[in-house]
Amino acid sequence: MVMRIDCKGLYYRKQNKIIRNAAEEGEIEFILDNANGQRYIGSGIDKKIKITVNGVPGNDLAMFMNGPTIIVNANAQDGVANTMNAGEVIVHGSAGDVIGYGMRGGKLYVQGNVGYRAGIHAKEYKKQVPIIIAGGVAGDFCGEYMAGGIMVLLGLNRGEEEPIAGNYLGTGMHGGVIYTRGEVDECTLGKEVSVLPLDSKDMKVLTKHLKEYCEHFELDLEEIMAEPFVKLQPVSSRPYGSLYAY
């Protein structure tokens, strides 16, 4: 059974309570029509439910989420997948600032651009590895203080002069990896990352995730893989290790 909720004029607390209660009772699929600005959709839910959002969801979509799949058929706002632990978020549009903040696991696939500070403080532990893929470009401070996880920027459909990421890319990064489709200008990099070529292991990881990404957005994997990628990795796992040591 699919539960359809008309979210027109519906306050977020009321809406999220309906979803949470129904999920408790075993409902596994939700379609939110006319959603607009409702915050915290899917937040903290640890069941394998699916939520389709027709409209722009509010801030902190999928925050602390632990299992559900969320499909957004519009742009998403700020703070998507904040501290998310498991599950999938697929955005058929662009996403705002600070997406994947402190993300600990799961997947965040964005068709278009991502805003400032994407993937800030993302982390990983053993098999828990968060993955963020953006089809477009990223704003400044992408991957800032990243401690783990995989970030992929494809830079599709961008203007000639438009860089794939803004300034301070990977600033303070000390774990995880960023793959970009095409070169990055060295002067836009944070001090803590270096640019490396991809090895066969990277290619395997990248192909696996991009295959899935391409299925969601009906893109041609071969075409995407035809362009060379570069890899950004932190120079040190403890860039600030001696900052306060005296």
Partner: protein, 375 residues
């Protein structure tokens, strides 16, 4: 904090402009800012509206706040010697007014929070006697008087002082403030709005946004950490910071930079949110020289700290962010309309189908301008 529940988040801003000068009533802007109810905490809300007094567009419209009748009398004495008061009247309000839309969390749990305890709200349409402006321009004269009133007349504050525009603000949630001031009965080509979540400064009627001087109005989400430097920079030019909050300096800086120093708006925005030196070093020669000069001349006008700001003025609306985008802003266009807001949903709420939606880059102003020959 108002009531006994925890309220997350920070301020909200929203702006609507028709570049062809079409005027629309205040219901849309109320609906837009109401959607971001949870970004505010009930300690301040306000609106600026342009084009609302077309029949008195040649007169300065002063929107005043008085603590008591004595302050009002003192202020009127002050006005009488300095202006020709063509008309004065109470600003129409709906005491106890409250917004009833559901999106603002107005369901059983929270209840409505009507606007209470307003100061005396009065407006004056005034002309300047010719003799007063022999040695000083009209607008300079008005600025002087606004500063005088705010700093010397106890209990009297100027909410706005431009022509054919006005500020409507107070303590409460913005959507309730909008209903309280009956904004559905005004028509404007530009509306800006603010929901306040005061952090460092008190929530009081004069301290709600927008902050206005002449036709400038500022709504701001964030915090001006450089307030002290900006204040010391502005004071020798005759500006007096009396409203106990940081945002005030932004309105006065625009007045100084654009009206008095004749900088184009783009350049003024570069003064307030100037590029970093490392980026200036990478610019082509001409731009680098301009950017360097701007930073050298106007170092003390630089705004530090997180902000997203919407500036309103008679000919347009300008939105911009701090240099590293620590506060959100989304812009959109549809036909002749320009929208800017803290959240995309607040735009979609009033304009579901848009031609274009984008998030401006940090420090880069988005400029709306009335078409040539309009108004």
């Amino acid at each position: 904090m108002r009531g006994n529940c925890y309220i997350p988040s920070g301020c909200s801003v929203s702006g609507i402009m028709s570049e062809s000068g079409r005027r629309q009533d205040g219901n849309a802007i109320i609906k837009s800012i109401a959607l971001m109810h949870d970004r505010a905490n009930g300690l301040g809300g306000g609106f600026a509206a342009y084009g609302i007094y077309p029949r008195r567009s040649d007169l300065y419209a002063f929107h005043m706040m008085f603590d008591d009748i004595v302050a009002k009398e003192r202020c009127e004495e002050h006005f009488k010697d300095r202006f020709d008061i063509v008309l004065d009247e109470e600003i129409p309000t709906r005491p106890g007014g409250a917004y009833e839309g559901m999106t603002a969390g107005r369901y059983d749990e929270e209840g409505v929070q009507p606007i209470t305890d307003p100061p005396i709200l009065w407006r004056y349409f005034m002309d300047i006697p010719e003799a007063k402006t022999k040695f000083v321009s009209d607008r300079e004269y008005v600025v002087e008087k606004v500063m005088e009133i705010n700093s010397t007349i106890d209990g009297a504050f100027v909410a706005s002082s431009g022509k054919n525009m006005g500020a409507f603000k107070g303590v409460g949630y913005p959507e309730d403030i909008g209903v309280f001031y009956k904004l559905g009965e005004y028509k404007a080509y530009t509306w800006t709005a603010h929901g306040r979540f005061p952090t460092n400064t008190p929530g009081w009627w004069g301290g709600a946004h927008p902050f206005c001087l002449l036709d400038w109005s500022i709504v701001h989400n964030g915090e001006i950490s450089s307030y002290g430097i900006n204040k010391r920079y502005l004071e020798p030019f005759g500006y007096r910071m009396e409203l106990r909050t940081d945002t005030e300096v932004v309105a006065y800086l625009f007045d100084l930079l654009v009206r008095r120093h004749n900088l184009p708006i783009e350049l003024a925005a570069k003064v307030l949110a100037s590029p970093f030196w490392v980026d200036i070093d990478r610019m082509p020669d001409r731009e680098r020289r301009i950017a360097t000069a701007i930073r050298q001349v106007y170092g003390s006008a630089l705004l530090n700290g997180p902000f997203s700001i919407i500036l309103g003025h008679s000919r347009g609306m300008v939105g911009f962010n701090d240099r590293i985008k620590l506060r959100p802003m989304t812009c959109a266009r549809k036909d002749d309309m320009l929208y800017m807001s803290s959240e995309e949903s607040a735009i979609r709420e009033i304009a579901p189908d848009l031609d274009e939606v984008w998030s401006p880059r940090a420090g880069t102003p988005v400029i709306g301008e009335l078409d040539e020959g309009v108004v």
